[in-house]
């Protein structure tokens, strides 16, 4: 049929135009959150090398799995091990913090891959708000760079993707607790160890019967999921094991009496447990296990490996490395043995650990709490802004594409309308979470690499387009068919009739359900946190785990979501009234 074909060609042209139009908008909108945790870990699923395992985990989970589990709270992946800490996300706008794709290799800089999420005490934003990075590995890297006379450039990437990212050449060296194990050594190039960690057993003051690892037999003990600690306890046989994605929650349960003990990696236990000693957390002084950490150097740069090894060896020998570890409270017998240092007892105060404990002490008193909540506002504002950007752009895409789909479904000849039906049914019938993973992690397999922001907008937009299409279809059928006939009899083509006569009338009909969907999208946008975007919900998780306060922070975030949605509800109502100017007042149009 000529008219429909014509309509279609017009429709396709419009889609193309819309998409072209959207690109600069998307690109522009992406700008503000370059600084946030934008990672482009597109390589993630392409090659899941066995090496991309977190320290002390037993299996390398695929990226998806890791991310899937954690969507709201601190997404420090389930493979939780040593990091899992309240990270902070404060100052990603740090000028040093460059987006993954844009950092070009150069002999003037050393690009090092890290994940600030759960980065404590390896890497974290300085809690003084200065926007600088601190952490014991950060100090080591800075020293290496100083000696190499190269500028350190951090590259933020998901922890799980650190090794794939290195293989893609996104940076020269991968950091943050990379475990030296025989299996890992087969696939990647490690430097000499700079630290040897162990496991830390913590219990609560009320459990006076637990004073060493052997005492936990028959007790309920929290461990990171798929970890060395898990294996250890599993071997004991009689232990009731609870696994955690987020260690903070393990400490919470310990405090609330749901656990008798937790067995976490030392750095994590120190930095999450120490601040809560006042709440009854008790550290058991026992040496359990040993895992060596080394940096992983890009295999294509053997000379860099040599240089870094030389520097680390010297730092070990000179006591410089020991000094750094002591500052961070990490000096332990395992590391002393590795370094060949007979002096197991620390010589200096763990100033960084003490400072951390000091600044993260739970606040008591109402005014102090309010003050803290107010201090959350800038971060939450940034998260809310990203939520809005993703939601609005996704909705624009959804409405434009949904309109096309509905038009094709209702007015195009059957092969095309069937395609439209298929799209709608497939998209509606599969979880949006899977679609997001597919777009972000799956599409790179066929050469389509999208930044997290674009992937989020496209993923949500394509998903909601299916729902909007159905809204529009309902809208179309709500317009009497005689309207189409009248328009055609005036010499309009079908497409002209749809555009000028049917669609404007349908629009008024679909406005309420579309508004409804937008509100729903606003909330579903929290799903994009799984592809590394730090929007409002993710911000909630980060802040809540950092300050051990899910309650007050949660109420605060809920209120922000409500406030975000309200203007759109009002706007929709206003528009609806405007569009109904030609109609009699009906009850549902009352103010």
């Amino acid at each position: 049929m000529h008219h429909t074909r014509y309509a279609l060609s017009r429709a396709i042209r419009l889609i193309v135009l819309v998409s072209i139009g959207l690109i600069p908008i998307l690109a522009a909108a992406e700008e503000p959150n370059v600084g946030t945790v934008t990672t482009d870990n597109t390589a993630g699923t392409v090659k899941g090398t066995p090496a991309d395992m977190p320290p002390s985990t037993v299996t390398a989970d695929t990226a998806e799995k890791g991310d899937a589990m954690q969507n709201d709270t601190s997404a420090s992946d389930e493979t939780a091990d040593a990091e899992e800490n309240p990270e902070e996300e404060t100052e990603y706008t740090d000028a040093d913090f460059t987006e993954v794709e844009t950092v070009q290799a150069s002999s003037d800089i050393l690009r090092y891959g890290i994940d600030l999420e759960g980065g404590l005490p390896y890497f974290m934003d300085n809690w003084d708000g200065s926007g600088t990075l601190i952490g014991f590995e950060q100090e080591i890297i800075e020293e290496i760079c100083r000696r190499l006379n190269r500028k350190p450039v951090p590259v933020q990437i998901d922890w799980d993707k650190l090794i794939p990212g290195l293989e893609r050449g996104l940076y020269d060296i991968a950091c943050e607790g990379q475990e030296i194990t025989p299996q890992h050594e087969e696939v990647v190039q490690f430097t000499v160890p700079y630290y040897v960690t162990g496991l830390q057993l913590c219990t609560h003051e009320r459990n006076t019967d637990i004073n060493r690892l052997a005492d936990v037999a028959g007790k309920r003990v929290g461990v990171p999921k798929a970890s060395l600690a898990y294996d250890l306890l599993a071997k004991m046989g009689t232990v009731d094991i609870a696994t955690y994605n987020t260690e903070v929650n393990g400490f919470d349960d310990l405090i609330h009496g749901r656990l008798h003990a937790v067995l976490f990696d030392q750095p994590v236990a120190l930095y999450y447990g120490k601040p809560r000693e006042a709440e009854g957390i008790r550290f058991i002084n026992e040496e359990i296990g040993a895992v060596k950490y080394g940096f992983v150097v890009d295999a294509r740069q053997p000379e860099l490996l040599e240089q870094v090894n030389a520097i680390l060896t010297d730092m070990r020998a000179s006591g410089q490395l020991r000094n750094i570890l002591e500052r961070w409270g990490l000096w332990n017998p395992q590391t002393a043995r590795e370094f060949g240092d007979p002096d197991i007892q620390p010589r200096t105060e763990p100033v960084m650990l003490n400072a951390w404990v000091e600044q993260s002490r739970p606040i008591s008193g109402f005014p102090a709490r309010i003050k803290r909540y107010i201090s959350f506002l800038p971060l939450m504002g940034r998260g809310a802004l990203l939520t809005m950007e993703v939601s609005i752009l996704a909705m624009l895409l959804a409405v434009a594409l949904g309109f096309m789909l509905a038009t094709v479904r209702v007015y195009a000849p059957w092969p095309l309308s069937l395609l439209s039906v298929l799209y709608i049914e497939i998209i509606r019938g599969t979880p949006v979470l899977i679609q997001l993973y597919f777009i972000f992690y799956g599409l790179p397999a066929v050469g389509i690499k999208l930044s997290p922001f674009i992937a989020g907008v496209v993923g949500l937009g394509l998903n909601y387009a299916a729902y909007e299409a159905e809204n529009y279809r309902a809208g179309f059928s709500g317009v009497p068919h005689t309207q189409m006939e009248a328009a055609l009899s005036l010499g309009m083509t079908r497409w002209q009739a749809i555009r000028h006569v049917i669609a404007p009338q349908a629009f008024r009909i679909v406005l309420p359900p579309v508004t409804n969907d937008f509100i729903s999208l606003l909330k579903d946008s929290s799903l994009v946190s799984v592809i590394t975007l730090v929007e409002l919900t993710k911000t909630y998780g980060l802040l809540a785990t950092k300050y051990y306060d899910y309650f007050g922070t949660g109420i605060m975030v809920a209120v922000i979501y409500l406030l975000l949605g309200l203007p759109f509800v009002r706007l929709a109502r206003y528009t609806e009234r405007k569009l109904a100017a030609h109609l009699p007042t009906t009850p549902n149009l009352r103010r």
Partner: protein, 262 residues
């Protein structure tokens, strides 16, 4: 009248149309000269409306030929595909033929004047100013100028049908088709619509009206086509058919109206 001039404005020959195997139009042939006003009468379901819809390509005819103002729609048999070419011609035909429907179907989201301006602007690509100018002139003609900025909902049925006529006229059609234009109206409002049609007739517009208004058919028409069961029973002069119907079926149909004044 049939066959008066060399090239009639409308020519229909051997037109067939059926729905689901049920024939609605059977071998219809007639022609209409420019400037004529023709009424099509007949009982409900006799195929009048379908015939009218075939005349502007809203229905795809099964077989036969329709020529209006030089544009020809033709199918040799129902098996012949009514493809792109046919649709293109139907579209071309519609730009030459205006149609007013029984249902009130002005575009409700536009004012009366916007209703009239829309098609010229997007189909004929005339400028907004020109479209507005035309709309004002036509609204004046149908007596709705003062209602030009109102929405259809606020108009009476008669006013809406007059506006619909103006909307069709804005495309400068060579032929106007009316499908029972007054049958959804209050009796009191019928006359104002018919008057507009009479006025157009005086101006020389070619018009075909499917109607139940026997008085209008008799008084205003140049001639009348009487249909029954998908066939044209009789085509004749308006007085002739009322005073002396040639066919028994015509006589019977008109017999229902005995005693009425027309």
């Amino acid at each position: 009248m049939t066959g008066k001039a060399a090239q009639p404005l409308i020519e229909v020959s051997h037109l067939w149309k059926s729905y689901d195997g049920h024939p609605v139009l059977k071998d219809i042939s007639f022609s209409i000269e420019e400037g004529d006003l023709v009424s099509i009468i007949g009982a409900s379901g006799c195929g009048k409306t379908t015939l009218l819809r075939c005349l502007n390509g809203m229905e795809i005819l099964d077989a036969g030929r329709v020529t209006i103002a030089g544009v020809t729609l033709e199918r040799k048999s129902p098996e012949e595909r009514a493809g792109r070419d046919f649709q293109q011609k139907a579209h071309a035909l519609r730009t030459e033929v205006g149609m007013v429907f029984q249902s009130l179907n002005l575009f409700p989201h536009m004012t009366v004047r916007e209703n009239i301006m829309l098609a010229p602007m997007i189909v004929r690509k005339v400028s907004r100013e020109e479209a507005e100018c035309t709309a004002n002139r036509l609204l004046e003609k149908v007596g709705l100028l003062k209602h030009r900025d109102r929405y259809p909902y606020h108009l009476s049925g008669g006013q809406q049908q007059r506006a619909a006529i103006a909307r069709a006229l804005a495309m400068n059609p060579k032929v106007m088709l009316y499908d029972e234009p007054t049958s959804s109206l209050d009796p009191a409002l019928v006359e104002e619509v018919l008057e507009v049609m009479r006025e157009l007739d005086r101006e020389g517009m070619t018009q075909i009206v499917v109607t139940h208004e026997m008085r209008f058919a008799r008084n205003a028409s140049d001639y009348i086509i009487f249909m029954e069961r998908g066939e044209i029973v009789e085509i004749s002069d308006e007085d002739e058919i009322f005073l002396d119907p040639k066919d028994e079926r015509t006589r019977k149909f008109l017999g229902q109206f005995v005693g009425r004044d027309f």
